[in-house]
């Protein structure tokens, strides 16, 4: 037996001993987030089985959830790196506006979307550079930049909405928000896009050098620096990723709103998205995180408004249920263990 196969055999033996426990040790946070999602769904569904077992009920859910999914899974990198980005709602607004202006100036939809992502990346580079090289707390810096960016966008738009009705139904628009009927549910293309994005983020976070280094920097920045990791570059990188995701959300939001854009279109996402990250099992202290958990976190938080109404609660109960779900899942995540040091 060669040395390597011997080594693998040893590991395989250990794995055999408790495969489930090992799986939970690595993926516990994601598993708990999935369980939380199922529990919330069961709670709503138990009030009205007929409605919640009808696939048609989920059409609008799948139509509205993708921006949250995209934003949450990208922010996992930011939180894991030990930073926070409060500027993403402003970048969603800026991204949507850029996308509209490019099209109003005559650029076709798909190239306009790609250029918007590029501009998002440049914006993220600026935000990251100010936070990292300016040595400012990301909480304060991105809060300030959020006002600053949305201020510029508001000024450029003169506070007005933009519309481009003639772009509705073009092939580019269909590519983004066209729908398929799968098992009686209307599944829009941008939901499929968000699933592809989640897969991309999952592999980037867990198996790519960048994702691994994000985790190292968040866990112990001094160690990471001593081992030759360019800590500053990794930190700037997470802000670039967050801003690209926000720009993509801007592009999608404009299209799900029938090509109408307003400057504050990202504002409603701030608190639900932040809640979804933590409901999704990424801890606040940095160093570890879970993309799959965040995906379920976004699904959970996104289900609450329509789920509450579907279950027969009056609309004003929504906030109450948000609160209950956040607190309870935080307690559940304690079972994934606290911080080891």
């Amino acid at each position: 037996m060669t040395e390597t196969s011997q080594a693998t055999a040893i590991i395989d033996n250990r794995r055999e001993q408790s495969r489930i426990r090992r799986f939970y040790a690595v993926n516990g946070r994601a598993v708990n987030s999935f369980v939380a999602f199922i529990c919330v769904w069961l709670f709503f569904a138990s009030q009205n089985w007929m409605l919640f077992l009808n696939p048609g009920f989920y059409g609008s859910y799948l139509y509205s959830i993708p921006p949250s999914i995209i934003m949450v899974t990208a922010l996992v990198f930011v939180i894991t790196a030990g930073e926070i980005d409060l500027s993403f709602p402003a970048v969603i607004g800026a991204g949507g506006g850029t996308f509209m202006w490019l099209m109003i100036w005559g650029m076709p939809l798909v190239p306009a979307a790609l250029v918007t992502l590029l501009i998002g990346a440049v914006l993220g580079l600026g935000i990251g550079a100010i936070v990292v090289y300016g040595k400012i707390s990301s909480l304060v810096a991105t809060l300030g930049l959020s006002f600053f960016i949305i201020g510029i966008v508001n000024f450029l738009a003169q506070g007005k909405n933009l519309e481009l009705r003639e772009a509705v139904g073009t092939w580019g628009n269909t590519l983004f928000v066209g729908k398929w009927t799968i098992f009686g549910t209307q599944v829009p293309n941008h939901f499929i896009l968000s699933l592809i994005w989640v897969a991309l983020m999952y592999f980037l976070f867990r198996y790519h050098r960048f994702g691994i280094r994000v985790q190292m920097v968040g866990d112990n920045p001094n160690s990471a620096r001593q081992m030759g990791i360019n800590v500053e570059r990794i930190r700037v990188g997470v802000f670039v990723l967050s801003a690209v995701a926000a720009a993509l959300c801007g592009v999608i939001l404009v299209q799900t709103a029938n090509m109408v854009w307003f400057p504050l279109s990202g504002k409603a996402y701030l608190l639900p998205v932040l809640a979804a990250i933590f409901v999704g099992g990424t801890p606040v202290w940095g160093g570890v995180g879970t993309v799959i958990g965040a995906f379920f976190g976004a699904l959970t938080i996104g289900l609450i408004p329509s789920g509450a109404v579907g279950a027969g609660f009056a609309g004003y109960w929504t906030e109450f249920i948000f609160g209950i779900v956040i607190i309870v899942t935080m307690v559940v995540h304690r079972f994934s263990g606290g911080r080891v040091s």
Binding site: A7, R209, R225
Partner: protein, 262 residues
């Protein structure tokens, strides 16, 4: 390269932190195949010197030469690429992550697209861990470092320094907070590294430990070089301790005059 040839040369290194001058012009030569014991009292500039060797501190002025070549800029990555691996006093680990991830921190085995080859990393970790006799039924390469004992964490840091066949291994206070058997393990490891023709720089508080293991000594005091010489300059560990005392009291080290009293 011949045994005994200089491998690292620090030339007139000055390191300032604001108005504090931690190193005031230190020149040091590290020769191939030797175990160099680096000594100094608290605040003498030992850890600044170690971090300069590791590339963590870029000197305010002065030059770092490795194998006869001037290294500039001098960063942690440059030091590791030049074949200098450091086991830091704080172990420089990511406690929430696995042994494998820690061993390959900053030096992941990846494909052309930057995706990590997990299988190979695990196999390499297993090989390294067995090489230094760092095995246990209780943990595997996938165990989380935060659940390991101090000695086991030291093992992870040493395994990491061994990967890539580094020519120089810097051990910063490797025996601090270790049990007697764990200390013995570290000593055996240093012997093994030396036997393979590589160089060790051993930094320690415990002068007996350093005296036992080192071939040559480099003592710094108040940011400057106070003594450099071979083990043969001393009659025993007590002689070295006397010199350190003398240094602390008078700021001067006179090995010859102490020989009679020791």
């Amino acid at each position: 390269m011949d045994a005994g040839a200089p491998i690292i040369e620090l030339k007139n290194i000055v390191k300032r932190f604001g108005s504090v001058e931690a190193l005031t012009g230190v020149s040091m030569t590290v020769r191939k195949g030797e175990v160099l014991g680096l000594l100094g009292d608290n605040g003498a500039g030992k850890s600044t010197l170690v971090k300069t060797l590791a590339g963590v501190h870029n000197p305010t002025s002065g030059e770092v030469w490795v194998r006869g070549q001037l290294c500039r800029p001098w960063t942690p990555l440059a030091a590791r690429n030049a074949g200098i691996e450091t086991v830091f006093q704080d172990r420089a680990l990511a406690p929430q992550h696995s042994i494998v991830t820690n061993i390959f921190m900053g030096r992941e085995i990846t494909n052309a697209f930057g995706f990590v080859d997990t299988r190979r990393q695990i196999a390499e970790s297993n090989r390294l861990m067995r090489e230094i006799g760092f095995t246990s039924k209780v943990f595997s390469p996938e165990s989380v470092v935060g659940n390991l004992s101090g000695g086991e964490r030291q093992g992870v840091a040493i395994a990491r320094a061994l990967y890539n066949k580094a020519e120089v291994i810097v051990l910063d206070e490797p025996t601090t907070a270790l049990s007697l058997t764990e200390t013995q393990k570290v000593f055996r490891f240093v012997e093994a590294v030396k036997a393979s023709g590589r160089t060790v720089i051993f930094i320690g508080h415990n002068i007996y430990h350093v005296y036992d293991i080192a071939d040559r000594f480099f003592v710094i005091d108040r940011g400057r070089e106070a003594f450099e010489g071979p083990k043969s300059a001393f009659t025993g560990a007590d002689h070295l301790i006397h010199m350190m005392h003398q240094l602390a009291e008078t700021g001067r080290a006179d090995v010859q005059s102490l020989k009679q009293t020791a």
